[in-house]
């Protein structure tokens, strides 16, 4: 028994130590705070327009899966259209139509905005009814005038696709869920950033990245007050503005006012917000004609003229318009999906 006792004591000691470690581990874990990094204070800049940066920290698998879904026609009721049908990535992320065509040839009620750089917007849709891309995805999918589908149907369709499911399972696990599909699409959309535009290079210090005329155009753009609204990295998209601050756009348009024309009112139901829209980004404006929420203007010259008139309450010379356009062209950045260039 003498020889036995120390071994026995040792065993008990080891058990006690293991138990103690076990308990302290839990306390240690609980003590560990799950702090998220707070927003760092952004640098103040002299320039109203800021360089555009790519969205970091995106899961490449999710992007791949999201892209697949973005081009997948099964997301529409009759498998006729996909996200890319209206958001043509090669051509600035729109279909260059006043209103897009949905399933069964239905026509939308508002102009299709670009899908590029959308995550920089303070909200989605012209009226900002979706506060982020996650909320936005279901909009067109379930809109009877657009894709007219529903997620249970889509899940049923996708569940049959072995190849898709294999990729899906790698990222999200076995169960096919609408939330995950939306997340994948939103992630893909977040990756659609047109970076490294000539203007951004100019902002970074390369004075020759844009032409003298473009530089002049930028000065005009600022001096006319355009940057009051079209500012920030996305040259817009971060605020709302009434369509027709200095003059009545809708009266002079000559067509009846539609529900879509009411803009942000449709969200807030406050009369003050009538005819107020999210200020669109001008990053790819040279590629995304026709213009305005009603798609009523087909040329950029016209659009600039109308903006000066209704928003700024002044006229702009044709010469200045051209200079501004030259400047606007330098805003177009690069993305592998975007094949159309600003020069065209």
């Amino acid at each position: 028994m003498k020889a036995v006792f120390p071994r026995q004591a040792f065993k008990i000691l080891v058990s006690v130590i293991i138990f103690t470690v076990y308990i302290s581990l839990f306390f240690a874990v609980s003590a560990q705070a799950n702090h998220n990094h707070l927003i760092t204070s952004e640098t103040l800049s002299d320039e109203p327009i800021q360089p555009l940066h790519a969205h970091e920290d995106l899961d490449p698998e999710k992007i791949t899966l999201g892209r697949r879904l973005f081009f997948d026609k099964r997301l529409s009721k009759d498998n006729s259209i996909s996200c890319s049908s209206c958001h043509n990535l090669a051509h600035g992320g729109t279909d260059n139509l006043p209103f897009s065509t949905g399933v069964n040839g239905t026509t939308g009620k508002i102009n299709t905005p670009t899908v590029y750089n959308t995550h920089l917007n303070l909200a989605q849709f012209w009226d900002g009814r979706a506060s982020n891309l996650i909320e936005q995805v279901s909009g067109p999918v379930e809109n009877p005038l657009e894709m007219a589908a529903n997620w249970p149907d889509i899940i049923r369709k996708l569940d049959q696709d072995r190849d898709f499911m294999r990729r899906y399972k790698k990222v999200y696990g076995n169960k096919l869920k609408a939330d995950n599909l939306i997340d994948a699409i939103a992630t893909f959309e977040k990756s659609l950033n047109t970076v490294n535009s000539p203007f951004d290079r100019f902002l970074a210090g390369d004075k020759n990245a844009i032409s003298a005329q473009a530089r002049e155009g930028y000065q005009i753009f600022k001096s006319y007050g355009c940057t009051a609204c079209h500012q920030g990295a996305n040259v817009g998209g971060n605020m709302y503005q009434k369509m027709g601050v200095m003059a009545d756009y809708f009266e002079e348009r000559g067509t009846p006012i539609t529900e879509a024309d009411l803009g942000r009112y449709n969200v807030t139901h406050d009369d003050y917000d009538k005819f107020t829209f999210k200020v669109p980004s001008l990053r790819l404006v040279v590629l995304t004609a026709p213009y305005f929420h009603d798609g009523s203007v087909s040329s950029l010259e016209q659009a600039i003229n109308k903006m000066a008139r209704y928003q700024l309450g002044r006229e702009i010379s044709a010469e200045d318009v051209q200079k501004v356009i030259t400047f606007l062209k330098t805003l177009v950045g690069e993305h592998k999906e975007l094949t159309q260039s600003a020069a065209e």
């Binding site: 058990s15 839990f26 998220n36 800049s45 998209g237 309450g313």
Partner: protein
Amino acid sequence: MKKEQYALITYLLFFVVTATVVSVLYKRNQQLQEYDLIQNKLEQLKELDARIDRDLLLNLSFYSSNYDALAESSTRIDTLQREITKQTTRFSQDEPEFKTVLQQYIQNSTRKKRQLERIKSLSSSIKNTLQYLPTVINELSHKITASRHDPEDLRFRINQLFGVLLDYNIFPRHDKKQLLEEKIAELESLSNHIYQKDLNNILSHIQANLRMKNQMENMLRSYNKMNINKELSRLQIIHTNYFTEQTKNSYIINLVLIILSALLFISLGYVIQNLKKAHIRARINHARLYDAIENINEAFALFDAEDKLVLWNRQFELFYPKIRKQIREGISYNELMAAAEALGQFKNNNIPRLHTSNDLQGHTKELEYLADGRCFLTSDSKTSSGGTACVRIDISDQVKLEEKIIWQANYDALTRLPNRTLFLDRLAQAIQHAKRDSTLCALLFIDLDKFKDVNDTLGHDVGDILLVAVAERLSSCIRKIDTASRLGGDEFTIILQEISSTHDAASVAIHIIKKLEEVFQIGEHEIFISASIGITVYPDDARNSTQMLSNADMAMYQAKEAGRNTYRFYTEEMNQEMKTRLQLEKDMRNALARNEFVLEYQPIIDSQSNKVVHAEALIRWQHPELGRIAPDKFIHLAEETGFIIQLGEWVLRTAVTQMNQWLKDGLQPFSVAVNISSRQLESDILIKLLSELLTEIPLPRHALTLEMTESLLIENSSRSNNALEKFRELGVNLSIDDFGTGYSSLSYLKQFPVDILKIDKSFIHDITQDKDDAILTNAIIDLAHNFNLKVIAEGVETIRQLNFLKQNGCDMIQGYYYSQPLPADDFYHYCLKQNRQQNSLKPSNGT
């Protein structure tokens, strides 16, 4: 409570409590994390709200020219709010106040955000007017300068107005607004000048600015009133209070659980200690078990329920030396035995089966034969745990002993041939076989002729060697399916199976006879023997083995009677004869008790005195059914069956008693002769009997004569001589019967102490006609007289025969000429009459 149960319960309790502690701690940890998360987010919201206020201030004061920061904060607030709502769903159910306040907060926050957006829009427009006005005023100034026409001092007044506007925009005071409105009204009142259009444009922008500035003021005022921090703080407090409460509760629970755990730890220690003790006990038990199984002579192996080897002793390895390397833990019985088979461990590759079947006793016993000649008794029994305990007992010695006993019971030790027992068994089998296959089977009964002589002359050792040699020759004469066996002595049998005809049996018999005729060279001796063979055939002669054996025996006797060195088939006549013999033998044994035997006495007359000097006692059998039976019909039988001993005794006793009676009755002394058979001489019984009888009934010397044949004397020469001397000492005369028919060797006359010769009646019969017989008879008489022996002529029937004999000096005459054998009474009267006649004929000689 048993210790094991205590240990089990302690273990269970320990794990339950540990699991509870862990789960409580885990849950608490979860709650803490959740708390931290929510608090953090609420804090972030506060910070973001402040940030929005700050950034808005920066924007409004023209320090920042874009809204990216605001937009980002706004989006973040949205996200955080959604996350908090989602993450506090459960918490909100516990604390409804939190839910209410949260909803209120989100509502206010949304309102504030919307207000913010309006301020942003408005601010942009205000900035535009302020940015545009210098341009348009400058343009007008240039125009005025160019035209050198400035009615109403327009340039100055506009510039002044713009100055006031800027002042108002920076320091918006009511008095300044009034001043501005006055100035605007002044300029509006100016009309009909060339700068009217430009002026209107400027004024409209100024008015727009004022209007928007107004709106802005109102908005900012209401924006400032929107204090959402209050709600956020409230949320934090509610949340914190709740968790403080939770922590208090869980602290007590934790404490209790930890104390419980500690107690259980102590119990665990106790259990471990007990386990240790149990372990030591188990080790001691194991050692005992080891000692037990290692110190038994039997091989032992234990297989578990899955038929895997778990325990075995060294004996088990020694029992199966060829698979020693394969014996290891976990191997199955079948694998083991397959290996043993492959290595040739078992005899005939007869794999023993492991008995796992549930028979009644739970164990089975079988024999297992190994290639090296060992034999194990297997005893496989079911264990309580469903395994099999496998025991092997080495019974090789027992088996060998048994085999030896079986062999001894069935084989003849000398010749190594099957003995009588096995022979009978084989014969029965052969009969069955023949019966089944409808074939013939024959039994040969072989008896060696004159084997007794070999034993007598050369000794038993040589006799035994000869028997072995005979056995070998017999075995060489037969096929494998046939059986040669020794019944005992010099009797052999051969069973021939599946023979096609009786002729085959005869061929074998002839072959055997020829083979045995060849000389046997045993040591320095050259021995010649022969055999008599009796043959019987199944199913022709017999139906069973007993009958067959007796048939063959009978046939063998026939062969012997036919002159030996030959064979005889059994016939039905033999059987009949045998039956008669048997009946006779049976009757004969009864006859003695029933007094059916009588003695008759044939007088023997002295040739000179014509008196009765001798009488031959002759036995007669008065059979109740068959009538009178002659001695030659039953004496031989009595000799064969050994009844002669009893019969001989009776004859002697009767004759002696009769003689004694006659002498008492006054008959003149004479000698009565009794025939002695060879069987009577074989033992000392006769001597003993005679001495007793003569002591009991004393007779004068020479009143009794024993008659025996030549051949009897020759055959028992060594014994005879001794016996004859004894007889003589008792005062008994000896005569040789049937002299001349046997060996006709006269040397023994000198050798044996004989008194009388009896010439066989065959010589006497033709004595008067046949010259040879006459010469021979004369020679015998002369010879006898020369040896000092008396001569009796037997079968004298005529006066001529008598005269011839008288002339040639024959001493005594026996025959019908004088008298046939007579019953005792008649003989008495005959004696009286004959002796009286002689006395009357010769009165001078009468006494």
